[in-house]
């Protein structure tokens, strides 16, 4: 056998071909009694239907968490979780937080300095001093 093949695995490029939303689950926890859940409860009553219908790819669970502040918890495909406490927020603010969690990718927040990140090979190659025509001394 002359040439051997090296076994590797392909790397996913989300958005090239298919796009998978990175937020896979949103848990809405509320309390029936506490006043800090007022906006959350109003959100669940009025806006959740539209929000859930617009985002069918996110699993949405609603469950009470008595005597605690209301929380939205997002679970992401990379295995991490993000939780936002929405105490004393209004319905619209809760919706904003839910959209924030939906649009997040689950990574830790970090500063993005370069606008484009790519794993593709450079089209022009890596610069080499031996291919520049050379400097003739």
């Amino acid at each position: 056998m002359v040439v051997q093949g090296i076994r590797k695995a392909t790397v996913g490029q989300n958005g090239v071909g298919a796009f998978i939303l990175q937020c896979k689950r949103l848990d809405f926890h509320y309390c029936d009694w506490a006043g800090s859940s007022k906006g959350m409860n109003s959100f669940l009553k009025n806006s959740l239907t539209k929000f859930a219908a617009l985002n069918p790819q996110v699993e949405i669970t609603v469950s009470p968490r008595p005597r605690r502040h209301p929380v939205i918890r997002g679970t992401y495909i990379n295995g991490r979780e993000k939780a936002i406490c929405v105490r004393n927020l209004t319905k619209e603010q809760v919706l904003q937080k839910a959209e924030l969690l939906r649009d997040a990718n689950g990574e830790k927040l970090k500063k993005v300095t370069k606008p484009v990140k790519s794993i593709n090979e450079s089209v022009r190659g890596v610069w080499s001093p031996y291919h520049d025509g050379g400097i003739h001394v």
Partner: protein, 462 residues
């Protein structure tokens, strides 16, 4: 700057040491010097002081007040009232006897009297059932349209809800020239009107009051009825029956009883019909009947209020145009107490496939169950004779040799493996240690520290 306490001031040394000083708090000591060097002077007001200083004498010339006269801030003398004239007591009539009870006295203020009792025009119990509400609205509409068809004033709506409902078999049909009533075999316009007017007659007279003899108004109504007869001859017989019964000037009790007894046979045929079937028997187009006419709308709403006790909000009245819209305001469900009750009513939310709503808190056990690990945990716990949940079983598991020493009052459970020994440390506190550890411990613990509480188990160990 720190103040020197008054006791350590030099002036304080002047005081004889022998005089015992009463205890004073520090604030009082500072505020009230124990020894004063200033002589006592008569108190003068500021103006007077300044005036004396300005003039340099104790008797300055001029007026006390330089602007003359009395200041308007000065206290004016109170007008003296003339001395009260003493008048002689009026002469009582000779036959005056003070009353000892309050009978016959004029009453002032709120005193309960049956005649002042306000009887509301709403029924005591609100109608909550949707179907019953629908039926009531239908009845109200039939009655109002019947009055209109007969050309009677809509003010003739009876005040009280009385009698049976003769409108079960009437359909309301919207037509081009207005709304029409279609009477089926068990009903007639006259019957409806008769029921209405009877209600009028009944309600015009107070229920508590005697209504034995027919009043003038009732006779008028009867005359009205007789005018209507030729239009609907088939409604004659119950009408005559009715008047015949009514015109008997018997005792009120009998009248009422007769009224009720008459209601029964009619009610028998229809009251047992469930509201669902009743509503289903009507032409569904009655809900689309237009009630644009404000007079009719008001009358219908009023009558419905009487029948059901449910009030349509004023803000909603303007926008209602059909019976359907009135109904939608009438049958609004009660406000849910818990969020889960509210979510239960939202069909579109529950039918979304990606939404799951839990009524109770989701515990770790539920999570373990949903990924299938709980059965493994349960098996492992049971194989070790451990309780599955905290509240599952409160019995003590088999403890090798020290089970007798377990405190009886403790509500918790102690788990001791076979090679371990239980040591009671205090009340409700124990340690399960292996024998080796205990031996090691005993080596390092001096004998005198092993108290009686602890020595019990330690002795057993040895």
């Amino acid at each position: 700057m720190r103040r020197i306490p008054i006791t350590s001031r030099s002036i304080g040394l002047l005081r004889p040491y022998t005089t015992p000083t009463p205890y004073l708090c520090s604030i009082c000591k500072h505020q009230a010097p124990a020894f004063s060097t200033s002589s006592l002077r008569p108190s003068l007001d500021t103006t007077e002081k300044i005036r004396r200083k300005v003039w340099g004498t104790d008797e300055p010339p001029g007026l006390e007040d330089p602007y003359g006269g009395l200041s308007k801030f000065a206290k004016k003398p109170k007008p003296t009232s003339p001395p009260r004239q003493m008048t002689a007591a009026p002469q009582l009539p000779p036959d005056y006897v003070p009353s000892s009870t309050w009978d016959g006295l004029e009453s002032v203020g709120e005193i309960y009297e049956p005649e002042y009792d306000f009887g509301g025009f709403l029924p005591a119990e609100l109608v909550t059932d949707t179907d019953e509400m629908t039926a009531a609205l239908h009845r109200a509409m039939v009655e109002i349209f019947a009055l209109k068809e007969a050309g009677l004033s809509l003010l003739n709506i009876p005040k009280a809800v009385l009698g049976l409902d003769p409108t079960h078999d009437v359909d309301i049909v919207p037509s081009a020239d207005g709304t029409q009533l279609r009477f089926n075999k068990d009903s007639s316009l006259a019957e409806v009107l008769q029921a209405l007017t009877r209600d009028v007659s009944l309600s015009s007279v107070d229920e508590t009051a005697e209504k034995g003899a027919p009043t003038e108004a009732e006779e008028d109504v009867a005359a009205d009825r007789s005018e209507l007869d030729p239009l609907h001859p088939e409604g004659n017989s119950p009408l005559t029956d009715e008047t015949a019964v009514k015109e008997q000037p018997t005792e009120s009790e009998e009248d009422v009883a007769a009224d009720r007894s008459e209601a029964d046979p009619l009610a028998d045929s229809e009251a047992y019909m469930p509201f669902e079937e009743l509503i289903a028997s009507w032409d569904p187009s009655w809900l689309q009947v237009s009630i644009e006419d404000p007079e009719i709308k008001f009358a219908i709403l009023k009558r419905t209020l009487q029948l059901t006790g449910v009030r349509v909000p004023d803000s909603a009245i303007r926008s209602t145009r059909t019976a359907q819209s009135i109904l939608s305001h009438l049958v609004t469900p009660p406000k849910p107490r818990k969020l889960i009750d509210a979510l239960e009513q939202k069909e579109e939310l529950l039918t979304l496939p990606n939404v799951s709503v839990f009524a109770k808190r989701v515990t770790p056990i539920h999570k373990e169950k949903s990924i299938g690990r709980w059965k493994l945990i349960e098996k492992e716990l049971e194989s070790r004779d451990l309780p599955v949940t905290a509240t599952a079983n409160n019995e003590y598991p088999e403890v090798c040799s020290t089970s007798a020493t377990l405190p009886e009052t403790a509500g918790e459970t102690a788990f001791v493996a076979e090679d371990e020994i239980l040591i009671v440390v205090g009340v409700g506190l124990w340690l399960a240690l292996t024998a080796k550890v205990v031996e090691l411990m005993l080596e390092f613990v001096p004998e005198e520290l092993v108290g009686p509480e602890m020595g019990f188990e330690l002795e057993m160990l040895r």
